[in-house]
Symmetry: D2
Subunit: 458 residues, 4 copies
């Protein structure tokens, strides 16, 4: 329980754990241990010192709460941590204590710790993201030729298909999974520059220590430190924001479809989830709720990261520190959203009969575009459009359905083909056409999904 | 330690405490206890039931961590809390358990708990804000007639005074303190509407129970519940954002003045604060750092609150929940900023000699405006401006200082008054004029400060 | 057409006009003219000069496009404007040219011009806001005792009333109208400080000129200039953001209610509005569209204003300039939203029959809370809640409606009062109760609206 | 002059031109012409009709102002444009008019027009970005072994070099140029889906027409339309935000270095640029101003784009429209920033002597880290740190410089190597070391720059 009640409520226990004080302190300790080992391997510090330091870099040996409390007055969590680690090493091996944190600086250890935890975070996110994408691919497979009312500007527009919708939902998620790997690879690099980015203390051995340290932590070493040049880091953050947007779009659609007046689809129903403290009948779409909350918050987190990029000189005043806080907040949000939607789509309720009924309730209005285009070459566009609008107005006013009215045109308009007219009203045909528009994309998506799934990355 | 490492690092222990899980749960319990008492007073539930409920509304009796963990799957913290409270009451008084949370809903208890904690939060913020304002008023008092180089677009502009600067710093803070009281009074109202805002369950007694509950919690009761109409609440949030901006402006100025190349002012220096893990000589402006971090983050928090206002129907899906998380994040940030700057200005270092030296180093360039205005009526504006620009160019190129060059004009320009000319270069006179421009405002500010200070509000 | 296609599309012609280049230049000219007159009145500059200057401060005399183009390389629109004005004055009265812009600075003229245009903007916004509020008050009046399904988390919750909903919609708008007057009064002040805020050039006459200038422009004069202390200005901006949120909430609700599957309400229908380039039957809620677009954008605008508050020293580098651009963008958005919703609610379609039908379609589920609370004292809360949940599950599974099932309980539960039971299912009674909860608030709102309406402010 | 005064002020004429009403309308006309030609090639519409349509798709034939004005009430700019185009075609070829916009929808033409203009916008941005990067690479080349005081948390930290700083500035810009190409390639795709994304009207010819249309417009065709799945589009927007952050960091640094009290570097000085309306001597860093303004605004624009991603069903209500407005605003900002900094660095003033003098003014304090690390193995870390802090305190208090004090240690600490000690104070050696840390990265950057420069992409 290391985050605020309401942040935690909108996240997952796993992600909260990754950014808990203990986990952050351990990741910092991992950096210090790896640094000592790397420097010993390069002959910069004695092997014995490295061994002494390394063996004491275990968070459970320290009062993490006290370290965190001390960070505030110190101005950095690294300062009390390095001090405490040095003191502890000194208890066992006084000479070794001098080599704690050798040649490094606060930002090295904090940034690298964040990189290490972010790598784990991306693993969590990808795992749930692929699960979610898999559920959507299954949805597309399981519902061929299923007519679905397409809606634009929140009004019925024309008939499409559930498979087409599922395809549109899943493609960006697979793109996001790929983009996260790419952005993650670029961003998750060792931070190691010493006081001002030049590793002045290490002199000729700077390259060797950097390489050894990177190897110890299984991180790539950048060409130069990235302490105040956060573009790759923020690009990863922005990518997480884009993911939230894509997941939020899915949640928005699902919440709309789950309104009982539409009743076309609903998220996985679980005992004890989505109830109300006042209303016994309530089944709230609480998975969607998590994703929609994240979709509201992530843009602000990304803006925060971007706003913090103007870090002064060789280390920013306030902006670096603000970025760290925004960063962990973003990851908490994103995982809450992705995991929730993976659960929401694990066993979604799909009501194909309601989908069809809602189309029928439109009484043919949603075929207006097809009708107008059929008439346009015969009557001129303006006349055709006007005629169809007039027919639609009669339908809305309570007349018979549009197809019935349209068939009455056949006698006055001999050039109108009866078969072509009926095709405009054939929802099965329309749904099959909609399916056909996405088949290739879905096949591609399935292959990309399998490749992602079968090649663990993080 | 109930917030993320990096959020906590940028806040205060007191504010973290107010929004800790235990404190939130206790505030929710306070609502439930008050509700039971109020309903008993109105004859809605039995007195015995109210007593049983009320006596068990103590957070320390419950496993808060488990409640918070359960909130995620329940979709609301209120649901497990009410269930656990009901179960616990049932152990002692089975009949009473039926009356737990009677007629209320999750949002009532959560919103009101947030109101209760926010009231305490505003008290913390105001206390430090008034301390900060007091230090600035003292600064203005302590440094009369102290010339300070005014800078525009980050370049030297003309001479002003430290008192004028201090006045500009303090006025918005006093306005913020007043505005927070006003916005707080409007926002800190009981939330009580039952399932959909109509208190349907309470029938004719809805008004009476509302009044009694408001009295129990020492909160005003709004004309109607504000569950999805968050304007007053968000207005308070925006006000906190404005405060962060004003405090951030102060911190930005102080950080700039504290650059050793300027060296005019610096924040309070404290042993052990502002050091570096790498550089023994460092004295980082870590108080300013906190405020600057908040100034980067608060705008995003306010944007988050505003973005969450479009809550659907009688309770939003995702946006209400997101708002709660943004809200506590904002309060954490704001207090970190305000308390830090109160400490930064408690014993600031002021170097009036450096202020004067930096003016002198400008070699008279900062008197250019005055000189040009003196010449304009004599030579025409364009000619005067061109002449002064040419003189300035000579100064920049290494010639003697502008006053020296200007005095050479006296022989060619008989209409130029030597006394008026010298006055343009008289920094003492200019600083006194700058002081005089703010005297009335400072007096007013001191009085308002005293009034605020002497009439505790929260 | 002085704004981007897409900004303009989401705004109104009137507001675009107010912030057009010509209007901004004229407002700046108004400042220069007023300054000259004020300084002449105080004996600072010759009366003849003031007359010459004042008579030439007319935007139509200048090539506004060229002025705006020159602003970019000059770094401020004031610089080419003052130069051109001076040159023009010199053509007629060479001596007078020296007194153009006397003692003032770019920020004085630009900030004050923005204040002048913002005052006009607030008038536009208030006018449409009061129209909108009036329509909502009428809606509440016109639909007494009209049951409306209340929805929480986008699911049916319980029965409320249209009047209650209308009341919740209108109250924040009236609060916003009041708050805008208050925030506007605080923010719309003369900016006049000269180069660095001290009016150094004007010496002893600074106060007199300030007062005269304020009088000329019918603006209050602040105690001190507010050039880098933008709290009152940003507070007004935040207030506009809150207004957008409240209007956006209304638009969100209306767009949801207008889904034909709900079909309970829709915005004013106008010929030629809301059509589609492809679908002849479409009637898109384009008024809501405008408001929802603003609700997405305004939070970012407010964040932009807040982020710009940390202006360095006596004039910011980049942040002041960025704020000006965000400011006009915000006003464009807000007016688009408010005017659109005033039109949307001018003649809304209300379908009370559909409202009732949608309640009935719930088959009594939305009475579950009332039923559970009725049973709780008889059976214990947990048992009652479980029983009602079980009954609800039967209804959902296709059994008879909840009231029918509930009536069957009467024979097993003699303590259950038949009348009280029926009352739970009486939608008329429930709607009347909901109405009664808002009557006082509506009366108050109507009075406040009349007061606002009858006392023009701007 | 098609944008607001203040947006335009912070942008460039070229970018304003690209998003002017005329240019947008022409791009939409280009889509309609290409659509007609493509459909004729596929036999969907008569060749004659395509020719008639295509020949009239010229913006200069229409009253663009009227079209834009009509867009507001129509709810989309495409509606009046298609209507007017159809009417105009009908004047010449009544039959052809039926085929205008055949099978397409508003979003197709608007989104694709934005893609076309964005492609041109990226060309503008890249051109200036490469110019800027080239200037920075030259800066690095021209100033080898030039010591520069590195500053952290806005305080002097240690010595680095100008070449190292230039390298850190340029690398992210080259990464951004590469990333923009990649993100642009992914985002700049044809939008073509018809009413609801299924191209229902085109039936079997949907693929062929799509391919032909893409070819006509030299745009790739996506696997499926991206109307409500904006991830690639927003990813490009985020990339532009990252670019603004990197450019803003450069501007922030330059503005700080240009403070005359530091005086180490300044932007290109141009006659007539950076003056003041009040102060003749002013040389404001107005290029930096533009970039800093963009760095404040771009995060909000990106947040706006992200917030608009939750577009409902097959076309969003308000969010799509809001996104378009945010999009053009972002591009205006970005180009203003990049072009300005390219100008700022075209002929920067570099004062290596002041750089060295500012280091010397630190009186050795900035060598403290090196000294402490030298002593740590001899005395233990804590003792070494304490000793150096004590020496620093003496320097600050007015004693001799740190090197002098340090040399006094030689007599008490025989293990201290005099040569190693002196090396700590050798700024030339330190600057050369700093240079050496970036040599490889700079070589790589130069090569990447050449590759980008020599292979025009857009």
């Amino acid at each position: 329980m290391s985050h605020s009640v309401f942040d935690g409520f909108l996240s997952t226990p796993q992600m909260q754990q990754l950014f808990s004080p203990v986990a952050i302190v351990q990741a910092m300790m991992d950096f210090e241990a790896a640094l000592a080992r790397a420097e010993a391997r390069c002959g910069v510090i004695p092997h014995g010192a490295a061994q002494a330091i390394s063996s004491l870099c275990r968070a459970e040996l320290y009062d993490v709460t006290a370290l965190v409390a001390a960070s505030n007055s110190a101005g950095s969590l690294a300062i009390p941590l390095v001090r405490k680690l040095s003191e502890t090493v000194a208890l066992f091996d006084p000479a070794a204590a001098a080599y704690v944190h050798w040649g490094s600086t606060s930002q090295d250890v904090i940034d690298t710790a964040m990189v290490l935890q972010t790598r784990r975070a991306l693993q969590l996110i990808e795992s749930d993201l692929l699960a979610l994408a898999g559920h959507l691919l299954d949805l597309a497979d399981n519902y061929p030729a299923t007519p679905l009312l397409a809606r634009t500007l929140m009004q019925p527009a024309a008939v499409s298909s559930l498979r087409a919708r599922a395809c549109h939902w899943v493609l960006p998620l697979i793109r996001c999974a790929q983009a996260l790997r790419q952005a993650g690879d670029a961003a998750l690099q060792l931070q190691f520059g010493g006081a001002v980015g030049t590793l002045a203390t290490l002199g000729e051995q700077a390259d060797a220590v950097t390489a050894a340290l990177a190897e110890e932590l299984r991180l790539p070493a950048p060409a130069v430190p990235w302490h105040t040049q956060r573009d790759r880091w923020v690009r990863l953050g922005a990518e997480l924001g884009v993911l939230c947007g894509s997941v939020g779009k899915l949640a928005q659609d699902l919440a709309l479809l789950a309104q009982p007046e539409l009743g076309e689809m609903a998220e996985t129903s679980e005992a004890g989830r989505g109830g109300s403290s006042a209303m016994p009948h309530k089944r709230n779409p609480v998975f969607c709720m998590q994703a929609l909350a994240a979709a509201r918050r992530a843009p602000q987190r990304v803006a925060g990261l971007l706003a913090c990029m103007t870090q002064e000189h060789e280390r920013g005043l306030g902006n670096w520190q603000a970025e760290l806080a925004e960063w962990s907040g973003l990851l908490l949000s994103v995982h809450g959203a992705v995991q929730s939607m993976a659960q929401a789509l694990a066993a979604p309720r799909v009501d194909a009969a309601r989908m069809r009924a809602n189309i029928e309730a439109q009484r043919g209005l949603v075929f207006a575009e097809g009708l107008a285009l059929l008439l346009a070459p015969l009557q001129g566009k303006a006349a055709a459009q006007a005629l169809v609008e007039a027919l639609c107005a009669r339908v809305v006013a309570g007349d018979v359905a549009l197809p019935v009215l349209a068939r009455q045109l056949l006698k006055d308009e001999p050039a109108l083909d009866a078969g072509a007219l009926e095709a405009q009203f054939d929802v099965h045909r329309i749904a099959c056409h909609a399916d056909s528009r996405v088949d290739a994309a879905l096949n591609g998506a399935r292959q990309q999904w399998s490749r992602l799934h079968d090649t663990p990355h993080w």
